[in-house]
């Protein structure tokens, strides 16, 4: 070790860059688990975050699914929020002006039920000042194509990606669905289509049934599983995708502390997002940043990017 780590600042050690965007650290918060950012201002210092992803935005506001929308499971939860959101325009006019006061990267998460809807939302968001990147949620059914989930088909995912890339004024991160036989294929298709980065994983489809009423516990019948329960699947997918793509990966899925974050970086992620843990441990993101810094210092890692994809595959 040449550097004296004790004299290095937090940002020298933890800063990372993805698709030309500079993050002060690799800790982001995941879409749908951080509202539009402001709700957290009372609980944590938003300025410390590497960045955050907004709740999924559609061109028009959406009411979402009827309740019940959530079920707790062992090590996780199912949700079927139905993407209730205020719409891209309200985000730009009502939230962004307040969010710009914070020194953190804002990623607008976007979804649609057709190609046109994606483009419409992106065009609205293009007008907004202070957005660092777009994250495309492709885990929703495409209504025009008979309801197939875009993110489950490499070709559908690729066409959404390239269409969005043509209009997007900012880097495009494509968020992959884990509900597929081969996530590498999906990742490669989206990379070829021009994605600047990938984020994975979104939730796994699950359900839960009340044994007395015999009704599904979610009004929507199925929902998305998230939380520590899914972490081993997420780490595996990040690892697999990192072996085949060249664009940066943001790791998501069950991260609840700095140790989980390190695991994803070693597997191949350049940054991570904290999702469900924000609910039951609202300061989780800050504790993760602190923990990463301490780990780097103790392990003599002078720049956190050294960790990325540093997995050693040789046994013992």
């Amino acid at each position: 070790m040449v550097d004296n780590l004790s004299t290095k600042s937090e940002s020298e050690i933890l800063a990372i860059e993805i698709a030309g965007i500079k993050f002060k650290n690799p800790v982001l918060t995941a879409s749908g688990t951080f509202g539009y950012g402001l709700d957290f201002a009372e609980l944590i210092d938003l300025n410390r975050l590497g960045g955050f992803c907004s709740k999924g935005l559609s061109p028009k506001p959406m009411k979402g699914n009827p309740p019940p929308r959530i079920v707790e499971t062992h090590g996780g939860m199912l949700n079927a929020i139905g993407l209730q959101n205020i719409g891209a325009k309200a985000f730009v006019t009502d939230k962004l002006p307040l969010l710009r006061n914070y020194n953190t990267q804002i990623i607008a998460n976007v979804f649609g039920y057709s190609l046109d809807e994606y483009i419409e939302a992106i065009e609205i968001l293009n007008q907004g000042e202070g957005i660092a990147a777009y994250e495309l949620n492709i885990s929703c059914p495409n209504v025009k194509e008979g309801g197939i989930v875009i993110g489950n088909s490499p070709s559908a995912a690729a066409s959404v990606t390239s269409a969005v890339k043509r209009v997007a004024k900012r880097p495009v991160i494509v968020k992959l669905s884990p509900n597929v036989t081969d996530i590498k294929q999906l990742a490669l298709a989206v990379e070829s289509a021009g994605a600047d980065a990938l984020s994975l994983i979104n939730t796994l489809v699950g359900t839960s049934i009340d044994i007395y009423s015999r009704r599904p516990r979610l009004a929507n019948i199925t929902g998305g599983l998230s939380g520590p329960a899914v972490k081993p699947i997420a780490v595996r997918m990040v690892y697999e995708v990192a072996q085949v793509v060249k664009i940066p990966i943001i790791g998501i899925g069950g991260i609840a502390n700095w140790m989980d974050a390190v695991e994803f970086l070693i597997a191949g992620a350049c940054a991570i997002q904290i999702g469900t843990a924000n609910y039951y441990d609202p300061t989780c993101s800050i504790k993760t940043i602190d923990g990463l810094l301490e780990y780097c210092k103790k392990q003599n890692i002078s720049q956190i990017s050294e960790l990325v994809k540093s997995i050693k595959l040789i046994a013992k």
Binding site: G35, D39, G64, P66, P68, E72, I81, G227, Y280
Partner: protein
């Protein structure tokens, strides 16, 4: 809203599987009637999510806030809370949600009367409200319902108040026999002047019926709703209830826009 570690001061099991938990929170909290906290034993791995609990009693001494909760021991979360012992740490987030408003009572030229209808583990959520109303010298009628004698909550504390207290049990083991809403209806029928504001907390079916009865007498009801919550502070949008306003409906968050809603606007 504060995210802080609280310490168990006292914990007692009573009745048909109920638990009373007193915590000390090392800060001054401004807690209002009807608000709640999200609680979880510290460092517990499972269940993951905190549990929503209404404040039953609140007392600030020096820089510490002492808060009491009463809950029914049901599933994994309340079981874990019931196993806490004095000195244990609890992850505390609160106060959360909007409070019961007594403004509707006082806004009029003439002061109205208050009518509180609570059932089961909805009872703890209305003690602070009842105290506040009595303190403000509002004429207050309290109807408490429970399945049986061993399911009655907080009678000692409610009895101390200068309010008219009616108790009902489904099995008649104490108080009037029957549902609390039946007593409520009889009571309202007997009143000369129906100048009440109704507050309710309890099982959904009880609150729905209370709201219907109140509406039929031309009264407004404020109901404190429950919903499964992941976060308790507005970010998951998981705890919504359907609210009908003018000709449109929307899904509103019980943890932020609620837990108190106008009974006539709730799509039960």
């Amino acid at each position: 809203m504060k995210e802080i570690i609280a310490i168990v001061q006292e914990i007692n099991l009573f009745g048909n599987g109920y638990c009373r938990l007193k915590l000390s929170v090392p800060t001054i909290l401004d807690i209002n009637a009807g608000q709640f906290a999200m609680l979880k034993p510290a460092r517990l791995f499972e269940p993951l999510l905190r549990r929503a609990m209404a404040f039953y009693q609140v007392k600030v001494i020096n820089n510490t806030t002492f808060v009491d909760f009463i809950f029914h021991i049901l599933g994994r979360g309340t079981q874990a809370l019931a196993e806490l012992r004095p000195g244990d740490q609890v992850e505390f987030l609160g106060p959360l949600g909007k409070s019961f408003s007594i403004a509707p009572i006082q806004k009029q030229d003439q002061v109205l009367r208050a009518l509180i209808v609570a059932g089961g583990v909805g009872t703890p959520a209305v003690l602070i409200l009842a105290q506040e109303l009595c303190l403000k010298r509002v004429e207050t009628y309290i109807f408490l319902g429970a399945r049986s004698k061993d399911d009655l909550i907080g009678i000692d504390d409610f009895s101390l108040l200068p309010a008219k207290l009616t108790i009902t049990t489904d099995d008649g083991s104490v108080g009037e026999k029957g549902f609390v809403t039946e007593s409520l209806e009889k009571f309202l029928e007997m009143q000369e002047q129906n100048n009440f504001v109704v507050y309710t907390c309890g099982p959904e079916i009880m609150m729905k019926r209370t709201s219907e009865i109140a509406t039929s007498f031309g009264l407004k009801t404020y109901a404190s709703l429950e919903a499964r919550m992941a976060c308790g502070f507005g970010v998951c949008v998981g705890c919504v209830v359907e609210i009908q306003q003018s000709n449109d409906f929307s899904y509103q968050r019980v943890c932020v826009e609620g837990p108190i809603f106008e009974g006539s606007e709730v799509v039960w």
